[in-house]
Symmetry: C3
Amino acid sequence: MSLDPEAKLAELGLKLPEASKPVAAYIPTRIVGNLLWVAGQVPIVPGADGKPQVLFKGAVPGQVTIEQAQQCAKQCVLNGLAAVKSEIGSLSCVRQVVRVGVFVCSEAGFTEQPKVANAASELLVQVFGPAGQHARAAVGSIALPLGAAVEVEFLFEIDPECPR
Amino acid sequence: MSLDPEAKLAELGLKLPEASKPVAAYIPTRIVGNLLWVAGQVPIVPGADGKPQVLFKGAVPGQVTIEQAQQCAKQCVLNGLAAVKSEIGSLSCVRQVVRVGVFVCSEAGFTEQPKVANAASELLVQVFGPAGQHARAAVGSIALPLGAAVEVEFLFEIDPECPR
Amino acid sequence: MSLDPEAKLAELGLKLPEASKPVAAYIPTRIVGNLLWVAGQVPIVPGADGKPQVLFKGAVPGQVTIEQAQQCAKQCVLNGLAAVKSEIGSLSCVRQVVRVGVFVCSEAGFTEQPKVANAASELLVQVFGPAGQHARAAVGSIALPLGAAVEVEFLFEIDPECPR
């Protein structure tokens, strides 16, 4: 990539959050060789009181609109990238995005999970260029952790020579 | 494998469709080393008017029967194999199927996701022989993209010497 | 790891079950290089009559309590570890747990999938120590195979020099 992904984020007016602690007994990332798995991310943001809160809660489209769910998907990407940076020091160490799994809290009959997931996919391509393209599975889920409208997990290929 | 997988498909009276474009902002396949991820496939077929359409829509078993969902699962395999062939030129470059993820659009209380997923698993074994066997996760989903009754994603091991 | 994982299991008063046959046309494990995928496990236990039965069936929290679902999650881990041992001979050949996918059969509005999944995650850390930590995706599912309250799939890194 000719453009630094973190410079690209800044150019998009986006800022990586602090890497957040998992809400449970697991870790945010795991590396084997040049593959880096990122745990499922929910759209947690700092609330007005400084405490973390979920961006939008509930099922699409009744409780959460597609547009709101797209915001959630983008936040999941930012949170996932924060985890990556926290693990390997720099997003420049990402060689490519490999797979993205998107779970959209859905009412029965809602079929536009791809529209929601596109917000995540497009942000990854904006940040990483062609290296941000990825295989993807997007499905509906009856309910997600913390009531989140969206959960996204990631698999990256990283530069094995990057510091860890 | 002694038998060419594409010859096997022909022997089974099956034909790979044209590799279809993803319905969204992602790519059908991603390779790292000898691993090839295939994006979640829905059972899209060419309609009577030539336009792509989803084979069966809705939840099993009320709106879609188990048999219809099995047809969907098989079509997902064909669509996934078309994506593989489009990426690496030949199904003979597949060393083994590694993991298959099957999402079955389900009514609450439906518990026969394995029966549906078996249609996908069995087709892979028919085509690739023992190399077609795989680890699998099959689960119910409240709703899937385009209303599809089934979505299947794949992970293959490929011959790293195959042309790309 | 300084402690043998199987000794640790015994110390916890836990016993690996017999590796069970998949309920369908797939295999319990697949290896590529030093990665070992384990198929989605449901909480099957030997029944009073010796026949396998599912520990708890139905959705959390109405039909199955969180505590019961946690028991299911632990049983899925034991069943998954039995599959690993059956494939590579010894749990000492596990280098680390990489990724765990947890599906919790959920009523709409149930948001404590992490609490359920923690039972699986914590058991893995008890058994393998820090090497048992992992990236994780935990989501709700409308329905699971055999009516199981929980399904868990696993990805392990193994010692490539272990016998197979």
